[in-house]
Amino acid sequence: MDIAIRRKRNALIVSLDGELDLATAAEVKERVDAALAANAKVNHLIWDLEKVGFIDSSGLAVLLGRYKEIQARSGKVIALRALEPVRRVLTMAGMERIMQFADTEEQALAQIGGKR
């Protein structure tokens, strides 16, 4: 799993490349938690899922766990460019209730109404 994390305004953008399952969940969780801890002023989290071809409940647990942290920061969680198979799983798990979907980074940033 390749993980790239960058900050834009008050959002953390996490780009994942690989399959999000039990084998990769721990690494993603650690990297994102460390980035959130190091960026106290960040209150939104954007998951760029364009290169994630597979997700199961272990992967969903990673997304849900970080949602709790973002909720504590009164922020939003966005799923950016989720491919159809991944989107179907997110929808089936009811993740639409806790995260919004976006097709472009601009759209995602507009949805969180990020402050500069």
């Binding site: 084998a23 199961d56 409940s57 198979p85 089936m92 798990a93």
Partner: protein, 147 residues
């Protein structure tokens, strides 16, 4: 006339998380001998991933053991059995409940919900201390024949 394929593959591997991706991909490749749609193959992948993950996380929690995955094609039906010789489940009915999890901090309790949603049939046979056997079956929707 529907072609009847009879085929079988058995895989055995140590309960390492790194093997989960191999197992689900191998089962999906095997399943593609039937007329499953791409969406259905994705569903099979998820179901296998959940069953094998459960064996790694719960069956052999903190230890390493052997996981066996057996795939069968019988007529127009895929059957997948995932077996471990781990700790077993004391209450299978409870384990099948949505959102039930033994690790609420990290897990969502959705694994078996996915298996039930995505497969036509799910049977769990488990005994504490002896291991768990998860049987799943699915037929392609396009050519599904009900007798």
């Amino acid at each position: 006339m529907m072609e009847t394929i009879e085929n079988m593959v058995e895989m055995r591997f140590p309960s390492k998380a790194a093997n989960i991706g191999f197992a689900r991909t191998a089962v999906a490749l095997f399943a593609s001998q039937l007329e499953f749609t791409l969406d259905e193959l994705d569903e099979i992948k998820i179901a296998v991933s959940e069953a094998v993950s459960n064996a790694v996380i719960h069956g052999y929690k903190g230890t390493e053991g052997e996981i066996t995955v057996i795939c069968r094609l019988t007529g127009n039906r895929l059957e997948v059995t995932v077996k471990d010789e781990g700790r077993g489940i004391s209450n299978v009915q409870q384990a099948l409940e949505p959102a039930f999890t033994t690790e609420p901090e990290e897990r969502m309790g959705l694994g078996l919900v996915f298996v039930r949603e995505y497969m036509d049939e799910l049977v769990i046979d488990s005994e504490p201390g002896k291991g768990t056997c998860v049987f799943m079956a699915k037929s392609p929707s396009q050519t599904r024949v009900h007798s």
